[in-house]
């Protein structure tokens, strides 16, 4: 697949169809795949594709420095491609001004990333072309939200103690925010300081509020790529929070972020018939 990918990208760059390819290359520090930006046809041999290509590259599409490089071709997995739909719904990208190369994927990471267990998008939807064959087993091995449901077996007090512990470990590096494709605000709410909306110190209280904020700003938007959790230097499982909101959106509104660009995003729209049981 790497050879095919390189050939395609060489053609795209040579023909001038795109000016830059956003893909994976080998890191000089640890030999793992990391994001690279290929601008010359001669450099396409730096592109790779393997089971360690974890990063969700769509996060770069909304950045000014990347936009300045010209029309991009981007390498995506099925899960990453869902972020493209959200970005398009929210008018952050012009889908027609980019070339999306989908990679058929049987799962990434060793051990396998948790998201892969419930994957139902082994072949990216809405890609301009797909490289590789769909894996034989395409149905999800685990039901979605399995991890969350297991967590919810704990009592509320235990859950609170768990998040209190996690908040105490958080160092507020904002890697979770930086890596997230749908966290694209040019000025994040935590960076606003006149007046300060959120406490930026790394105290338990402030970290707790940050994790509530980060998660809820992704409500109905998170596509479950799991990058926040992967990059977290202290290993906070933010996937649980994202999953709880994804499940709520699914159960209450039958909405799954990044699956259909025609449905209006749930936050920002409303329904006269929205049902709840807790308002007096």
């Amino acid at each position: 697949m790497t050879g095919q990918l390189r050939e395609r990208c060489r053609r795209l760059l040579q023909d001038g169809a795109v000016q830059v390819v956003i893909g994976y290359g080998v890191s000089t520090s640890d030999g793992m795949p990391h994001p690279i930006f290929v601008r010359r046809p001669d450099d396409v041999d730096k592109l790779i594709w393997n089971e360690q290509c974890m990063a969700n590259l769509t996060t770069y599409l909304t950045r000014d420095a990347v936009k300045a490089l010209g029309k991009p071709a981007i390498v995506v997995k099925g899960c990453d491609a869902r972020a493209l739909v959200v970005l398009e719904q929210e008018c952050q990208i012009d889908r027609s001004a980019m070339h999306v190369i989908g990679m058929a994927c049987a799962g990434v990471g060793s051990p396998r990333a948790p998201k892969c267990a419930s994957c139902d998008v082994h072949v990216p939807a809405a890609a301009d072309e797909v490289i590789g064959e769909a894996p034989a087993q395409t149905g999800p091995a685990d039901p979605p939200y399995a991890e969350l449901e297991e967590f919810l077996q704990k009592s509320p007090a235990e859950r609170f103690a768990y998040w209190r512990e996690e908040a105490a470990r958080c160092i507020r590096c904002y890697a979770c925010r930086e890596v997230c494709p749908t966290c694209y605000c040019p000025r994040c709410i935590v960076d606003k300081n006149r007046p300060a909306c959120l406490d930026t110190s790394a105290t338990v209280k402030a970290n707790f509020a940050w994790h509530v904020t980060r998660a809820f700003h992704q409500a109905g938007r998170c596509t479950g790529c799991g990058e926040c959790t992967r990059v977290c230097p202290v290993g906070i499982n933010m996937r649980l929070l994202n999953q709880s909101l994804a499940r709520a959106a699914d159960e209450h509104f039958g909405y799954r972020a990044g699956t259909n660009r025609e449905t209006p995003p749930i936050i920002g729209a409303y329904g006269l018939e929205d049902k709840e049981s807790f308002i007096r």
Partner: protein, 144 residues
């Protein structure tokens, strides 16, 4: 629970209905516990979830969010937006183990001063029974 615990309740209310209901309760001399601190906002749609978190951080034992009945919003749809948001937000709070039985939502129109009186009385009694929200107040004091 100690005898002298007085619940601190923070109420975020809509300018166009619940605030007027509370005002009417005063004009009508309806008595209700003085434990509620009323914060007037233009609309329930304005109630950012961070306000709820901040209230808890600052020592509230319960939070009330109240606004216009569906269909009555001064801004046409602010309360519909709010409702949808709270449906999702409650699930996040559940996952984080925050006591959602301390967070109340209600629709109270400008004429329903009785409903306001009853609700605040009921909530105050309930929270007095439950005691202070020490779990959250502890994290507000923890430094590491």
């Amino acid at each position: 629970m100690s005898e002298d615990f007085e619940p601190k309740i923070v109420a975020f209310v809509c300018n166009w209905c619940t605030y007027l209901a509370a005002d009417l309760a005063g004009t009508n001399r309806l008595e209700y516990p003085p434990n509620v601190r009323i914060l007037r906002l233009p609309c329930t749609g304005r109630v950012d979830f961070n306000l709820i978190i901040k209230a808890l951080e600052m020592g509230a034992d319960a939070v009330v969010v109240s606004g216009c009945h569906p269909g009555d919003c001064h801004y046409t749809a602010g309360n519909y937006h709010a409702r949808r948001r709270w449906i999702l937000f409650r699930e996040l709070l559940e996952t984080m183990g925050i006591e959602t039985n301390r967070i109340f939502f209600s629709w109270i129109s400008a004429a329903e001063s009785k409903k306001w009186q009853h609700m605040i009385t009921e909530i105050t009694d309930q929270i007095r029974e439950m005691g202070p929200y020490t779990a959250y107040h502890e994290i507000s004091e923890a430094t590491a």
